[in-house]
């Protein structure tokens, strides 16, 4: 039995995207209802995009709501005001987030540590107020309503986007594509460069890497992934609420990342799942769900700093080492 588990774990490790896909295919049936599964997909992707910058490059942005929001709003605007098809709207949303990423990233990467966090926060707040004031386009305080997509035509199929389960699988296609991209990126030589920048900027530069350029590139990629999460969210909700751009949304990305385990590929996704599941369960019991989530968060930060996923991976690795030692593998 131990032998079988040991090999299964090795296999999963080698084919993490395949394992993730298999799990996410059955995921909606494990959740109390499909909409929660969709939310987890979207916020999981958002947290994974954020983690690319935070966990892998060591840059703590407090303004990532800007990219989620810009992705959402521009997708919404493309559908509502321009009447564009859903797929073109997604492209517009992601591209806009990338552009926002170039601008904010260019201004922010000159700073480090807490200053970087503050600059990203401040710039994201400017974006928030910009969209808040542009009422004609964004609906201001009420959010942008009417992002209505009833039917999705994908690869020759007409899919009912109002059915939550089919909606889940449509969104899953995009999320898996993005996760695959992130997985490849982290496994690429560039992935090693950004990790080396996180570890020691000075040495990375002495090794011949243009630190500023690499940081900007990863910032924009991270913004693009978060933008895609935003675009999918707009289609999912049919409206774009103004809190998509609120700084609390930026804070949520940090919480999800830490809860799941920063610097691991799937940690942020797991963190998003735990966060949203807790939110869902606890709101049924008490109005003060944030208090309970906060408590869980504190317990993890204090006692399991590697997060749910990071700690699990550690346990698995420890068991494997023990098993391998016992079996003389």
């Amino acid at each position: 039995m131990g032998h079988f588990i040991h090999h299964a774990i090795e296999r999963i490790r080698q084919h993490r995207m395949l394992a993730t896909t298999a799990f996410l295919l059955v995921f909606p049936f494990l959740m109390p209802y499909e909409t929660l599964a969709i939310n987890i997909l979207i916020f999981g992707l958002y947290a994974v995009g954020f983690n690319l910058l935070f966990g892998y490059t060591g840059m703590l942005s407090f303004g990532h709501a800007a990219f989620l929001g810009v992705g959402s709003y521009l997708t919404g605007i493309a559908v509502v005001h321009a009447g564009w098809p859903w797929w073109a709207a997604i492209v517009v949303g992601v591209m806009s987030s990338c552009v926002a990423g170039v601008v904010i990233g260019y201004l922010a990467i000159r700073t480090r540590g807490i200053y970087f966090s503050m600059v990203t926060l401040a710039l994201a707040q400017i974006v928030y107020f910009g969209f808040y004031k542009a009422e004609r386009w964004t609906g201001g305080e009420n959010g942008l309503r009417g992002v209505k997509v009833d039917v999705i035509s994908l690869l020759g199929f007409r899919i009912d986007f109002l059915n939550p389960l089919s909606k889940y699988y449509v969104i899953l296609v995009f999320v898996l594509l993005a996760l695959w991209l992130v997985s490849r990126l982290l496994n690429s030589p560039f992935g090693a460069v950004i990790e080396s920048i996180r570890e020691n900027e000075k040495r990375a530069a002495a090794c011949g890497y243009n630190v500023a350029q690499s940081k900007l590139l990863v910032f924009v990629l991270s913004a693009g992934i978060c933008g895609l999460a935003g675009a999918l969210r707009a289609l999912h909700l049919s409206i774009v609420p103004i809190d998509s751009l609120h700084y609390l949304q930026s804070g949520q990305a940090v919480m999800m990342c830490l809860l799941g385990g920063m610097g691991t590929f799937l940690g942020p996704f797991v963190g998003a799942a735990v966060f949203l599941y807790l939110e869902d369960v606890v709101t049924n019991v008490t109005r003060y769900w944030m208090g309970v989530v906060g408590l869980v968060f504190m317990i993890f930060v204090l006692f399991f700093p590697k997060g749910v996923w990071g700690t699990t991976l550690d346990w698995i690795a420890r068991w494997q080492r023990k098993y391998a030692g016992k079996e003389g593998l």
Partner: protein
Amino acid sequence: MSTSNPSSAVPILEVKGVSRRFGKFQALHNISTRFCAGELTAIIGPNGAGKSTFFNVISGGIPPSEGQVVFEGQSTDKLAQHDYARIGIAKSFQITNVFKHLSAHENVRVALQMLTTHYQLLKARSSYGELNDQADALLSRVGLTDSRRKLAGDLAHGQQRSLEVAMALACRPKLLLMDEPTAGMSPQETVIMMNLITELAAERTIILVEHKMKLVMGLCKRLLVLHHGELLAEGTPDDIRNNAEVKRVYLGQH
């Protein structure tokens, strides 16, 4: 290649009238010298002599306030720090700078891939095949084969310094700059590092900064002595030993 008369040999690095001020403090004052290809030169001087500032200026860490540094006939004025490795100047720092949470092997591999891959975002790490072998070869060169899987942060101090040398060598430098390569090392570690430097010097130009004068006397053919930010003397170890000024400000202290 002559080492006794540097002016006739090919200079790889020329320092022309370099000064460096920090506010009102003059750390370096009008220093001019040249380093010849294939030579092992040590820069010595008591604490506060300006050795580290000089090292930082020639390695691109800080720009000079006046004067310029010329590498292979090209001014380094406009170069960013990351350009140095690409043109063939590598350095090891005074305070150990390694990627602590990566393994020793990964540290060297990251340094190695600079030459072959650049912004390849989707290429898999399976393409690392050759780089892995090269990284192992470099680790064996500095005597770290057994520790290749260990996290760099878990290595002993001396091993981390050796790892740094392996990383510096990864970009196949023509000029290797070392800032106090034996700082904080045990006597055994110091011997290992000194032997390594001697070996490496056979293949490339090395400039090292060191405050332990005895250590470099037997190692280098040429020495530069800094004092209060000025170039006090330069020459062979014998010249330096017999230099009255040097004796007064430096040797007299020991």
